[in-house]
Amino acid sequence: MTQVAAEAGSFRDPRGRIFHVDKRVLRTVMPSAIADFEFVRASGLVEELQSDGRLIGENQVDAAVLGEHAAGASIVLEHPRLPFISYPYEWPFRALQAAALLHLDIQQAALQKGVSLTDATAYNIQFAGPRPVFIDSLSFRRYVDGEYWAGHRQFCEQFVNPLLLRAYTGVTHNAWFRGSLEGIPADDLSRLLPWRSRLSWNALTNVHMQARLQRASTTGHAASRAGKGKLPKIGFEQMLHSMRKWIAALEPKSGSATVWQDYATDNSYADAEAQKKRQFVAEFVQSAKPALLFDVGCNTGDYSAVALENGADLVVGFDFDHGALDYGYQRAVDAGLNFLPLHLDAANPSPEQGWRQAERMGFARRAQGDAVVGLALIHHLAIAKNLPLADVLAWLVAMAPRGVVEFVPKQDPMVQRLLQLREDLFDDYDQRAFESYLQKLARVVRSETVSSSGRTLYWFERA
């Protein structure tokens, strides 16, 4: 008997729901949605957006696959399964910006076909490598002349405001967004942005004015009056056009280069060492042929690129440093790499959260790949973050059945730098302990010392 599981994050719109059956992803379309569903598909919009990959594919399937869960549904659709789900609070600035532009492009293309979007949630966008893809094919409905942009507030909270936070203040959106799953309210942001932001027409209206109007209109009377207006189509188009131009031009506030941005060139590694590491990773990937490889501590994606060149289909990278992530994301776009760098604080990964603590999946539940690479990582967790070495290894090895992990000994200049201003409490941090912990978790296929300081790579396979 196959198990049908309702997707815990799909409940807000009663016009349809996502279900998982084994590895298949299915969507019910309820009778309340069917008129819009047919109108939108007849408009040619869905076909247009699917043809260049901006919208996820869909196939109508026999409703029997969902058993009793299909009761009442008019249609059941199947979507291709995405190899990895990520959330806006894990995206680097550039990825959130690309997602925002995709949303606007889709809304603009939709309007031309007499279609509009019901909402503007960032969770409706996922990534195929660095390319954003819209995944909610039930978000479309017939446009009614004169209607407001229903998703405007949500678009501001989930895309615009988080981007503005970084663009104006240099503060990244990730921690705030993670704590506030619906994004950053205009009222909060309005209090934080510098005064000069009022010189920007778009920031003035979308942030400051919206916040003020929202504050001034807490009475039911104002709400009922507000609902009686009309936004001419030309006004709607103008808003989208102006918003798109504005967002495309946003840049993270420039400050000093972040710690890791120049790491690939400016580090304590000799070139020969990097060459050995590349060779080791290349051989591992050629043997493992992973569909999904995790590069934990990916920095700007050097070894992710090596993995992709050697047969990995998709690399999802994780790093703590926003400068490195932005750089890595741009590199993936420019070089056409199927690489998605995401923000991760390994000492505090994304939790299970949202409604019933199930709406958005935690990191551990999603971090199941075919291979994992953790280079120049262990010392940052075991020493800089005081995480027990055995636990760090167990965490990493649990992410995939095989992988490569690097041990960085205490005498290495990088570790010495971490210990410079603090007491060395790490008695078990040595190569012998490392090997014994790793061997309890997996079989070591190969190991190679790659630097004069004694850095060693281990290729492991879980038993």
Partner: protein
């Protein structure tokens, strides 16, 4: 003719706050956003009127007729944002 178009546009500006067009969504669009959108719609219409007068004035001197309506409104933002 200019006056008649101006009156028509002004009437449609008034119309912006007169006719009901409910937001067809399960999402609460937010009062602040809706009022803001009415204001922006009003500004867009007002700019249309001004633009019309401007072209008419220019036409008086150059003898050329007004071009088709441009969609570029107040979005000179890239310059303002650093």
């Amino acid at each position: 003719m200019l006056r008649r178009r101006a009156i028509r546009i002004s009437l449609s500006l008034l119309g912006c706050t007169a006719f009901a067009a409910p937001a067809h969504a399960y999402l609460d669009p937010g009062t602040g956003s809706i009022i803001l959108q009415s204001i922006l719609a009003g500004i867009a219409v007002a700019m249309g009127v001004l633009r019309l007068y401007w072209y008419k004035l220019k036409a008086l001197f150059t003898g050329k007729s007004a071009p088709a309506e441009s969609r570029d409104g107040p979005d000179a933002d890239a310059q303002n944002k650093s």
